[in-house]
Symmetry: C2
DNA sequence: AGGGGAGATTGACAATCGTCGATATAGGCA
DNA sequence: TGCCTATATCGACGATTGTCAATCTCCCCT
């Protein structure tokens, strides 16, 4: 956020401040925002975790695995990505609350967080 | 994509190619990908359109408008963004198929594309 | 015809992101 | 104990993104 302070983007509207009876458009005056900046930022963080083709493929592979569990080495080859890159993508999705990480011995198993994707979907289509 | 050609990431596994009876992990051999690279890329494009707090707020404002229609000037002020920036965000969402643009006179009215968000939500939680 | 205003486009710049190679950590096995 | 292997972390680099100021286009109104 390069401009955290409220910059007076285009207020003033010098002499026409009272266009009164017409106002064909531009009636923001919402009063309360429908989606607060903070909520929007938190939501965007989760959608950002989905905004990469390789991460979507990881989710797809994880969810279609026999036990819905996958370890890193299962992902590196089908995605044609290096191991550090896969680890990086997995970390992003764990931090977004989409994946769960469980270390068993040397291997790390990743699985879907049960309601996470559904909750995100509900955010998109609240009344469906 | 800097490496479009298949780089031999870590095949070989020199003498252990037939670990046969154990294979505790790392059994990619999926055969068919669950999500093809092309589909993943197209999906990611739509999620990218949602991966920004200001765009989420635009969607929220548009969908909560009286006629579910909004023009650019309605968005610039509540979001505290310049007009070109708002236009840019709107264009991204129109190209992602999330918003519909209709020019009436001098104003451009934006509205939700009816099934778009629902279809995306269905992609997230296919069996909910 | 000409002026004015709404919105789109362009160019630039800083910030973020995806990827990799190299290295670190840590658990299992001989 | 010491090596081997699976995963995480670090540092770097190019590509993409979000934002703005300036400009352009086009429609309405006088």
């Amino acid at each position: 956020m390069p401009t955290p302070v409220a910059t007076p983007t285009r207020q003033e509207t010098p002499a026409v401040s009272d266009q009164g009876s017409e106002a064909p458009c531009c009636v923001p005056a919402h009063g309360q925002e429908s989606l607060l900046a903070g909520e929007a930022e938190a939501l965007a963080l989760r959608f950002k975790a989905l905004a990469d083709p390789n991460r979507l493929r990881i989710l797809s592979i994880v969810s279609s695995s026999p036990e819905a569990e996958t370890c890193v080495c299962d992902l590196s080859e089908p995605l044609n990505l290096g191991q550090p890159t896969v680890s990086h993508h997995l970390k992003i999705m764990v931090e977004a609350g989409l994946l769960h990480r469980e270390k068993r011995g040397v291997w790390a198993y990743y699985s879907l967080v049960p309601g996470a994707l559904g909750a995100l979907a509900a955010t998109l289509a609240p009344k469906v």
